[in-house]
């Protein structure tokens, strides 16, 4: 039960940060990606600001065997830059640039995103549902 409460707190703080930072505003996101237009630097501060506390957290995690609630901490990250990582990230980026929403802000803005926000979220769920089939196909290719 406690895990669920701390999870709710983390999700809430994440959502609050996404709202405050401007990540839920598609014009700001597209303005940041638009390096040949009127470039908006805001999101560089968002990413930089988010990475700082997380660098400290990884340093703390490296000295601990378990999380505060007793579960295992994540293992070392994989190192293989494989086809799924490259193709998947290119697909994700194309969708992100096209409309300006990534998964976190899409969920965070659902209460005021209107029909467009709801259609985006349902389409994203559909994409997530069929993704394992894509993965199998990519893995089967020589």
């Amino acid at each position: 039960m406690l895990r669920n409460i701390t999870s709710l707190i983390a999700g809430g703080l994440f959502g609050a940060g996404l709202l405050v930072s401007g990540m839920t505003d598609t014009t700001k996101v597209q303005g940041w990606l638009d390096i040949f237009g009127a470039w908006d630097p805001t999101l560089a501060f968002v990413l930089g600001g988010a990475i700082l506390p997380m660098m400290l957290a990884w340093a703390v995690a490296a000295r601990r065997a378990r999380s505060l609630l007793g579960s295992d901490l994540p293992g070392k990250p994989g190192t293989e830059i494989d086809r799924n990582l490259m193709i998947g990230s290119l697909m994700f980026g194309a969708g992100w640039g096209l409309v300006g929403l990534c998964p976190g802000p899409a969920v965070a803005s659902i209460s005021w995103g209107g029909v467009g926000g709801a259609v985006f979220l349902v389409s994203m769920f559909a994409g997530m549902y069929v993704a394992p089939a894509f993965r199998l196909r990519f893995n089967a290719m020589a």
Partner: protein, 142 residues
């Protein structure tokens, strides 16, 4: 407009603090596409309550904050529905193939100097920038 970067930094620090909290307390990587995707494709149903709690916080807290903000809040999402559907599908499939999005690869990956996180971020930023250039400057459609 001039102080947007301050809000970006403040919001970014909140996002990073949420990710740090989730790592050190729950022992998990705060990746939006992984938390949501595991619910959608059933691979994460073993930890469904923790995931659903996170998603609830992510959707509810910004909704509760919104009335207290002085600036108007809007996603400014396009009303071009075919583009919204296509973008949602690309984001859904892409993030699951790549095993991460802006939060998982961008915030949590880069902060631990993960080669996969850094590579994924380069690929999705490249594709995102290209999508904005193509659809905004060549077709004028976003």
């Amino acid at each position: 407009m001039q102080i947007d970067w301050i809000w970006g930094l403040v919001g970014g620090l909140m996002i990073g603090t949420a990710a740090a909290f989730y790592l050190l307390v729950n022992g998990r990587i705060m990746g939006a596409s992984g938390i949501v995707g595991g619910l959608v494709d059933r691979t994460g149903w073993g930890t469904w309550a923790e995931r659903l709690s996170f998603v609830a916080g992510l959707a509810l807290i910004p909704a509760l904050m919104k009335p207290f903000l002085t600036a108007p809040v809007d996603t400014h999402i396009t009303d071009n529905m075919p583009a919204v559907v296509l973008a949602g599908l690309l984001v859904g499939v892409g993030t699951r193939l790549a095993n991460g999005c802006t939060s998982g690869h961008g915030v949590c990956g880069i902060s631990r100097f993960s080669a996969r996180g850094i590579a994924a971020t380069i690929f999705y930023l490249f594709a995102g920038g290209l999508a904005v250039i193509v659809f905004r400057h060549l077709f004028g459609s976003i």
